[in-house]
Assembly symmetry: C2
C-alpha cells in the first residue's frame, strides 16, 4: 500500500469511527451473539491471495461491530468503564504510525522522556507526594518515579516483586506473606499466584485476606488480628495491598490507618511491609481538589496505581504506577544482556522503562496522556469527573427514594450498589431483574456479591465518555419498569 493509498484508507477508517461515535447509541449495548456465531462467520483458513479493502471494511461492519459489547455506548454502566476519547484515539493513530519500541531510552528518547514528564504531570494532577516525582530522592536515598503499565494487575505484580526484593534486601529470614482485603481486586491474588506465593486462588498459606466492612473497606481490627497471627507464625509481611475503590462496591480502605497498624509491627521487631495502594478506578477522582481524600493513602504508600484508561478519557491500555523506590523495582526486574547495552544506560544517565515492567518491548502510550491532558486541560478533566459524580448521586437518590430498592452501602463516587428488597426466605429477584434490564439493549449493568452477606447486588457505574444525564435518567426508567414488570409477573 503506497502512502497515498494509506491516506485514502485512513480517511475511510476515520469516517468509520466517526460514524461509530454517532451511531453507537442506536446499537444494543450488548450483542445477542451466541457462542460460535462469529467463528462461524469467518473462513476456516487464511486467504492465499490479497483481498480488497472493500471486503475487509464490509466484514468489519457486518461481522465484528454488531457482535461487540459496546464499551463506548452511553448506556454502558457495567464493571468500570473503559473510556475512549477523541484526543486519545488521535494519539493512538500517531503511536501506530510511529510504531516505536521504547524499551530503552536510547531506542526512542522522546518516548521515554515524554512518559517521565507525563507521570510527573499526573503526580501533580492527583496531588501525589513529591516522593513519587521522577528521580526525587528521599532521606533514605531512594528515588521516586512513575511508569505506564498496561494494567493495574501488572502494577500490583511489579509492586509485589519490588516488595519481595526489599524483603530480601533486609535479609529478612522470615517467610513472607501478602496481605490484602477480601474485597481487593482479584489481580492481587493473581499476582501472588504468578510470583509463586500461592499455588492457586484458594492457597492462603502466604496470602491473607482481611475481612471488610459492609461498604467493602478493610476492617482495621481484623487487620490487627491478621498481623498478630502472621507474627505468631514467625512470618512477616512482604506487601500489603490496600484499595481505594474496591471493584465490587467502591470501598476505600483507610490507608493512613492501615499504615499506622503496620508500623506498630516495628515495635515488635518486624518489618512492616511494602504498602501498595490500588487506586485504579477511584484514584482518578483526585483530579478534583474536593476528592483528594480518595488518595490520602498515597501519602503513606510505597507505590500507587491509577488507571486513566478507566475514567480519565484515555484509551486502554494506560495504568499509571508510581513508587518511592524505583531502585527496588529495577533490582527485581532488570537483566541486561550484551545486545541491549548502550552508552546512555551504562552511564546511568537515563531511565530505561523496560526495567520497570514485565515485558521488554513497549508501545508509545505517553502520547495519549499528553493529548488528553492538553486537549481537556485540568479544568476539562475535572468537569468530566464532576458530571459523572453528580449523575451517580442523582441515581442513588432515586434508588433510595423508591421503597422497592435498597442501597447495600453508600454511593462511592460514580458507583451505586443497589438491589430489590425481598423477604429473607423468598427467591432473590435480583438476578432476573439484572437480566431484564440488560435485555433492553439500552443499558448494560453488572453485578457483584455484597461484602457483608454475599448477596447478589447490582452495580451501576457512571464513567463512559459519551454518557449524558439523559442516559442516566433513561437507565433509571428502564430499571424501574423492569422491577414493575417483574413484580407483575411474580
Amino acid at each position: 500500500m503506497t502512502p497515498d493509498e494509506f491516506k485514502q484508507a485512513g480517511y475511510r477508517m476515520v469516517d468509520t469511527i466517526t460514524e461509530y461515535m454517532r451511531t453507537v447509541e442506536s446499537m444494543p449495548v450488548t450483542p445477542k451473539t451466541k457462542p460460535g456465531d462469529v467463528l462461524d462467520a469467518l473462513p476456516i483458513s487464511p486467504p492465499e491471495n490479497p483481498e480488497s479493502w472493500d471486503a475487509i471494511h464490509t466484514d468489519l461492519d457486518s461481522i465484528i461491530t454488531p457482535n461487540l459489547t459496546h464499551w463506548q455506548h452511553p448506556g454502558f454502566f457495567a464493571y468500570f468503564s473503559c473510556n475512549a476519547s477523541a484526543p486519545a484515539i488521535l494519539a493512538e493513530i500517531a503511536a501506530a504510525g510511529l510504531n516505536v519500541n521504547g524499551m530503552l531510552w536510547s531506542t526512542s528518547p522522546a518516548a521515554t522522556e515524554l512518559e517521565t514528564r507525563m507521570l510527573d504531570w499526573c503526580a501533580q494532577l492527583f496531588d501525589l507526594p513529591k516522593a513519587f516525582i521522577s528521580n526525587h530522592q528521599n532521606n533514605l536515598g531512594r528515588r521516586g518515579g512513575g511508569v505506564i503499565q498496561s494494567t493495574a494487575s501488572e502494577a500490583t505484580l511489579v509492586a509485589l516483586l519490588a516488595a519481595q526484593e526489599r524483603h530480601r534486601d533486609l535479609n529478612n529470614p522470615q517467610t513472607g506473606v501478602l496481605v490484602t482485603s477480601d474485597q481487593a481486586h482479584s489481580s492481587v491474588i493473581k499476582a501472588a499466584m504468578i510470583a509463586g506465593l500461592a499455588q492457586g486462588p484458594d492457597d492462603q498459606s502466604r496470602v491473607r485476606l482481611v475481612r471488610t466492612h459492609p461498604d467493602g473497606s478493610m476492617n482495621l481490627d481484623e487487620l490487627a488480628r491478621t498481623i498478630d497471627a502472621i507474627h505468631a507464625e514467625n512470618k512477616s509481611i512482604i506487601m500489603l495491598s490496600a484499595t481505594a475503590g474496591t471493584t465490587g462496591t467502591g470501598g476505600i480502605d483507610d490507608t493512613p490507618a492501615v499504615r499506622d497498624t503496620l508500623d506498630r509491627a516495628h515495635e515488635t521487631g518486624h518489618w512492616p511491609g511494602w504498602l501498595h495502594l490500588d487506586a485504579a478506578w477511584a484514584g482518578v477522582a483526585a483530579v478534583c481538589p474536593e476528592h483528594r481524600g480518595v488518595l490520602a493513602g498515597a501519602r503513606v504508600a510505597d507505590s500507587v496505581c491509577i488507571n486513566p484508561h478507566k475514567w480519565l478519557l484515555t484509551n486502554f491500555d494506560c495504568d499509571l504506577m508510581w513508587t518511592r523506590d524505583s531502585g527496588a523495582i529495577i533490582r527485581a526486574l532488570s537483566i541486561t544482556p550484551e545486545y541491549l547495552r548502550n552508552k546512555q544506560s551504562d552511564a546511568n544517565a537515563v531511565i530505561d522503562y523496560r526495567d520497570w515492567q514485565i515485558p521488554l518491548g513497549r508501545r508509545f502510550r505517553a502520547l495519549k496522556l499528553w493529548f488528553v491532558i492538553r486537549h481537556y486541560g485540568l479544568q476539562g478533566l475535572r468537569a468530566h469527573i464532576r458530571c459523572h459524580l453528580e449523575w451517580a448521586e442523582w441515581f442513588a437518590q432515586q434508588a433510595q427514594a423508591d421503597d422497592r430498592f435498597e442501597l447495600i452501602c453508600p454511593r462511592s463516587l460514580g458507583l451505586v450498589c443497589f438491589r430489590l428488597k425481598h423477604a429473607p426466605d423468598a427467591h432473590d429477584p435480583n438476578p432476573a431483574l439484572l437480566e431484564s434490564i440488560n435485555q433492553s439493549g439500552k443499558v448494560f449493568l453488572s453485578h457483584t456479591a455484597a461484602p457483608k452477606d454475599g448477596r447478589f447486588t447490582i452495580r451501576f457505574v457512571t464513567g463512559a465518555t459519551a454518557t449524558e444525564f439523559k442516559h442516566v435518567a433513561g437507565a433509571w426508567s428502564i430499571i424501574k419498569d423492569a422491577a414493575s414488570s417483574l413484580a407483575n409477573l411474580g
Copy 2:
C-alpha cells in the same frame, strides 16, 4: 470534541502519518538527542486550560518526532525490527475507536472469536501441529489453543506458570528448575525472577543455562550433562525453554533432539519437563514452506510463541502463543470473583482469554492480524519474508567477500553477525566501527557478544517494512567506507 471535529482532526493525523511514511527516510534513524533534551522542552506542569489542536500537532512535529529512534526507517537494521504496515495501522485506528475490553468472551464476543480464528489461521500459516488448534483435544484429553500475548516475554512467563502447574499436578515432590541456553533471550531468566525461581539474574540455584555452539544454538552434549546434574541433585525440570532464533546470533536449537534428550529422563523416572519454544523472531519465516524447518521444534513443544510484531507486518504489540494444554495455563492463572461471573463462562461454553494472560483487561489486537493477513494474503506475506532473506544473503556475501570482515557464524535468516578482523593482541576496532556506521544517520545497526568468545559482534538484521534492496546496498557502502576511514585513522 464532536464527531465532526474528530473527523477533521483524524484526517489531519492520517495526513501526518502519511507524511511520516513519505519522509522518514530523510530523517536520521537515531536522533542526536541528549538525556534531558525532551524533558526540558516540555512544561513542568500540566495546563489548567484546554490547548488547541494546532499547538499539540506542532509540538508532536517539533518536540517528539525529531527525538525518536525511527523503527520504521528503511535503514533500521538493529535489534529485531518492530514492523508497522498500512493495514495494521488501519486496524489500530479501528481498535482505538471501538476501544472494547475483551477480558471475557461476554465483554466482546467478536473480539474473542476473531482472536481464536486468527490464532487458528496462523497455526495453518506456520504449519503448526493440529494439537495447537483451538479446542483440539489430544489423546491425553488436553485441549490446544492460542492467544495473543503482548510480548514473547509474557508468553515465556505464562508457559513457565503452566509448566509449574503441571509439575505440581503430577505431585512431583522434587524441587523444579528451569533450563534454557546461555544464548536464550533475557526474558527467560526474567520469567524465573518473576515466578520466584531466581532471586536475581545471576541466581542459578533453580535456573540452568546450557552452553551453546558458536552459532548460538544449544549444545546437546552439554544439555545431557546439565540434565544429569539436575537429577543428581534430586531436582527435576519444570520447563526447558528452547529457542528458534536467538537474539544475539539467530541460533536455532535442535528442538526435536532436545525433546529426545528430555524424554530419556523418563527412563530414570523423572518428569521430562514442559518444552517451550521461543520462536519470537525466526518463527515468522515459516510462512514460507521452504523455511518450515525453523519451526521443527513445534512438533515436539508444549507451547510455542511467534511475534508478528517483529517481522510479519503487524504493529507492536502482537505475540502469538500456542499450547497443547490450555488447561494448565488456565489453572495457573484463573481466579473468578463474583463481579466477573457470567452465564457463558459458567457454562464453560466460551474462551475467556483473561485466563490465558497476566493482566485482566485486553485490547482488541486480533483486528491487526485479520487486516494484515487479508490485505497481503499468504502470497504477499511470503514475498515479504523472501525479499528480506534475499537481501540478507546478499549482504552476507559482500561481508564474506571482503577480506577485512568475518562472519562469526553463518547467516541466520535475516540476521548477519559480522566483525572487522584484527590481530588478537590489537585494540578491537568494532565498537568504533559500529559507532561510526550509526553516526551516518542513514542506518542503525546494533551489537552482541559472540557466543563462542564474548567478542564484540555487529548485527545486521533485515525486517523493516520500508526497507528495499537499495537500502541494504547503501548500508553495505556505509559500512565499507566506515571501515576504510577507521583504517586510515589507525
